[in-house]
Amino acid sequence: MLSLIATLYVPLAIFLTSVTVYLMGFNRTTKYLMTAVYFCVFGWSVFAFILAWRGVKISSFHSELLLDPLSAIFIFATSLIMLVSLLYSYDYMKEYVRIHRIPERNLRTYYSLLTLTMFTLYMVAVSNNSFLMWAFVEATTMITVLLVCFGKYEQTLEAAWKYLVLCVVGLGSALYGTALIYSYIFNVTGDPYRGLLFTYLASDIRVLAPTVAALGIITILIGYGVKAGLVPMHWWLPDAYSEAPSPVSAVLSSVVTGCGFFAIFRWALALTPAIHEMVKPFLLAVGMASIFLGGLSIVRQVDLKRMLAYSSVENMGIIALGICFPPLGLAVAIMHLFNHSLIKASAFLAVGNLEYRYGRRGELHGVISDLPVLGALLLMSVLALEGTPPFSMFFSVLGTAMVIDKGWILALYAIGLLVSFVALITRFMEVSWGRRMGKEIVINEKCPSIMIWAPILLLATTLVLGLYVGPLMDLCWRCVGVG
């Protein structure tokens, strides 16, 4: 029964909700339906998190679908962020469609696509089949492209076009690598399922010839790296994050980009130490480049969302760096992805609140004098994002430093973090504490309370997980087979 709930009933309920919202339109009934379904999925994700923490693994459909500690972490983050983004969207999107003169009936497309995004993300998490997982990662791109260009003006179309073209071409590379590894394993073992399922891959990947293994894994890393926004495949990311409506930016920057790394984690967990050594220089190079380029690019940005987007590039670099040092580094990388998802979503929603009030995302200063709660929330989110204690990100940033086994890599990592810390904090200090702005630029006097509570909820979760880090850390260790 549990296996059917995890792999059939929950995704089916999400999918049917999406279809219902599209068919019935966005009204009071569908609003309640969506809210109820999102709450139920979140409740289920908490239960799944506890099950995984207690060592329970659930599989079904001949092990094609699987709920393990890694999927439990991802589902928990996804359902929480999607729930918060949905609640936030109710008021934010009302204003968004008014400003951009979008017919209100189009909101049904928005909510339907948002729910469909949750469905595809859920399926990415429970896919144990490498091809199926690829198909769902690709599907997340196509659905969120429509969300990015929901406004349909020049900038959103530019962002959506870049996002779509780069990701579909990049993910083609991941498909190449997946097919290559699958066919090689099939030829050696003669079993069509062995090279397909991640549960077998860990033992069967040993049969790969070194050149095929390196080629296959690097094409997979490039493919999913585009989705994750690693340098130099990150061009789409700042545009898509900044031009999308804020709740969509929150989802994109956290779990949609995260699903690229989720796929990389699935593959990384299957690698032998020898193959890992072969791909380590590649990961190290893109990881370091992402940390430095992400940090340095923040300096010249004016738009707050673009600053946060480049901070995402930097954090993706930290995760890539963690993967270089398995198994503990991999566990820390999983933890960092989780922490980053929650905090980045919170930061984007906080910026969305400023946008709601001031009608713009750039040239803002002295916000804290006008809006003490919003200003403080934004500053706290950014501090949390830079790994300041007591938020949970502190442990993953510190953990990455602790797993690095070479002095020069550690030194570069520390410099990269410092650059990004100074760049981001300086800019956001100005936004929070700078010269006070005049009253005349305010377009909305008050933010609805749910829009303030939404980012606070995410930030509070990371605070609690920072103060009581045990369960999350245990689960991350369990993902890599330690503990």
Binding site: A139, L164, V169, T211, V212, D239
Partner: protein, 221 residues
């Protein structure tokens, strides 16, 4: 898979024709002609699958050829022609690289593709199918070149279809044993991706009055 020696005689001419159609897809400036060239290439791909199915007695490939015919010869060209009709633009904007140097780039990419196909230790590839790997790499590289050097969004969408043909051929040769649901999932995704690119092209034309993706440059990184 038991590969008959005569397979090479069936597959090689079809694969060679695919390369010829690749030239047409990339270099023809008329979008409608480009779409027809793509349709011809898709038909050749179906021919390769049918050839393998009949000569090598591999029933999996009947399914592959049927799904490829439906998706690539019928649905995708219909979508492309619909988008061309919708935007009312027949000719693409002049690409970044003029015709003669562009043909040189195409030839270089084909040479690299075939070299990789010959030298990489790919599994499954029996002598009769080895040429398919070279063609697959060449189609993919030419598609990537076309998508990055052409300005028209519809031409970029056709180039993506071209890349997808290369990947499909490679999947058929390497991963032909994968369950049919996997192939269907991948094909559905590809069709959705192309449909999305074409839909966005029509919206871009409506909003900025042009299909030139280089005019989409208001965001700075």
């Amino acid at each position: 898979m038991m590969v008959s020696p005569s397979l090479e005689y069936v597959v090689t001419p079809l694969a060679a024709c695919m390369i010829y159609t690749a030239f047409m897809i990339v270099e023809l400036r008329n979008l409608r002609f480009s779409a027809y060239a793509y349709m011809a290439q898709a038909l050749l791909l179906v021919g390769v699958f049918l050839g393998i199915a009949v000569v090598a007695n591999e029933p999996h490939f009947y399914v592959w050829s049927f799904t490829a015919f439906l998706s690539k010869v019928v649905v995708v060209p219909w979508l492309v022609l619909w988008a061309i009709g919708k935007v009312k633009v027949e000719r693409e904007e002049e690409p970044l690289i003029p015709l003669v140097p562009s043909i040189g780039v195409d030839l270089a990419l084909i040479a690299i593709g075939f070299w990789l196909g010959e030298t990489l230790p790919m599994p499954v590839v029996e002598p009769g199918l080895k040429i398919c790997m070279g063609v697959s790499f060449a189609l993919t590289f030419m598609g990537i070149y076309s998508i990055s050097s052409r300005r028209s969004t519809i031409k970029q969408a056709i180039s993506f279809c071209h890349i997808e043909n290369g990947i499909h051929l490679m999947l058929a040769v390497l991963a032909f044993t994968s369950p049919v649901t996997v192939e269907l999932g991948i094909l559905t995704d590809a069709i959705f991706a192309i449909a999305m690119m074409l839909y966005l092209s029509t919206v871009i034309k409506k909003v900025i009055g042009s299909l030139n993706s280089f005019e989409l440059s208001s965001l700075r990184w």
